[in-house]
């Protein structure tokens, strides 16, 4: 159907995934729960820090488009980190570790992790 909502006949034989609706497989990582929370995401974030930084920049650009003064990003960077200690264990240590390894400010890492609660309206 070439007008919205672009419905189509039920697809068949799509598996194994291939073709234009398939982009790639997903890489596996092991998270060792026996290592300290601060360190357990290190390997993953070392590999993905460029991608996380890019997403973070896009979100900041969107925020600055809504509030051009930059005050919204300031609020996230300066006020949100004070909330980290209220998070249950082991999450606060894990989030600190992720911020340190990735170089993304702690407030922005925290915002990414509470996106769901922010966007349920």
């Amino acid at each position: 159907q070439y007008v919205p909502p672009y419905t189509e006949e039920c697809r068949t034989n799509m598996y194994p995934p291939a073709g234009p609706t398939y982009k790639s497989t997903v890489a596996w990582y092991t998270i060792d729960l026996d290592t300290p929370p601060y360190k357990r995401w290190n390997q993953l974030l070392s590999d993905k820090k460029a991608e996380l930084a890019m997403l973070n920049q896009v979100i900041k650009d969107l925020a600055n488009a809504f509030v051009p003064s930059g005050k919204l990003v300031d609020l996230v960077d300066k006020k949100l980190p004070s909330l980290i200690e209220t998070f249950p264990s082991p999450f606060h240590d894990e989030l600190k570790g992720i911020a340190d390894v990735s170089g993304v400010p702690l407030g922005e890492v925290l915002l990414f992790n509470i996106f769901y609660e922010v966007f349920t309206v």
């Binding site: 799509m14 609706t21 729960l33 991608e51 890019m54 896009v58 969107l62 609660e117 349920t120 309206v121």
Partner: protein
Amino acid sequence: CTSVVAEDSAGKLFHARNMDFGLFLGWDVKNHTWVVTEYLRPLVVNLDFQKGNKTVFKSTSFAGYVGMLTGVKPGVFSVTMNERFSLDGGYIGIIEWIIGRRDGMWMSFLMRSVLENATSYDDAKNQLATTKLLAPAYFILGGNKSGQGCVITRSRTTSLDIWEIDAKQSQWYVLETNYDRWKDPFFLDDRRTPAMKCLNQTTQAKISLEKIYDVLSTKPVLNKLTVYTTLMEASEGKLESYIRDCPNPCMPW
């Protein structure tokens, strides 16, 4: 999002989901894509959480995100979460948290805690249905034996509905998008009807993870917000994920 738990004629359970995210977070006019959705795709990872070198649970997640939205505890249960929009939404929970009322739990942290600690399908169901949350949600839970599949509709404080598979009554699957099952979906966002049509066409006798992948690949169940598709089978501890794309023409949601 679209999540499905289905039971085949032999009582085997399959669980799958499309993760859709990024609505209204920047539309790229040139490429006809959602900006945040595009930047989320490279962050998708499969995680094997281990203790004592043994798998505790597996999950599909985003790098930098410590909560869980999709996961399987091998041999025990599988679980996904779909967003539930409400005026009594998560922003109220966040305000309560900031002012010091912290008896609720962050949704994705609860999912991770359940995957880590729940010992059975019923234990997981009980925790997901009764724990106070900061935001409303749909939890879709699959087990390892006949009849173990349900959608839990949650407000922040209570379980509003638990809809279970009942294959003897021809209810051989449960399907959740982002609307309460007792209400019609928003007319511009009806993924429920096409998904049900495709599942009904497939029939219980022929259902499998491969067939559910077909359903999740049919527009508009697959749409511009779809980041990944995950296929799970709790009894075998199977979890496989694929990054998706929805070439034009394709619905933005």
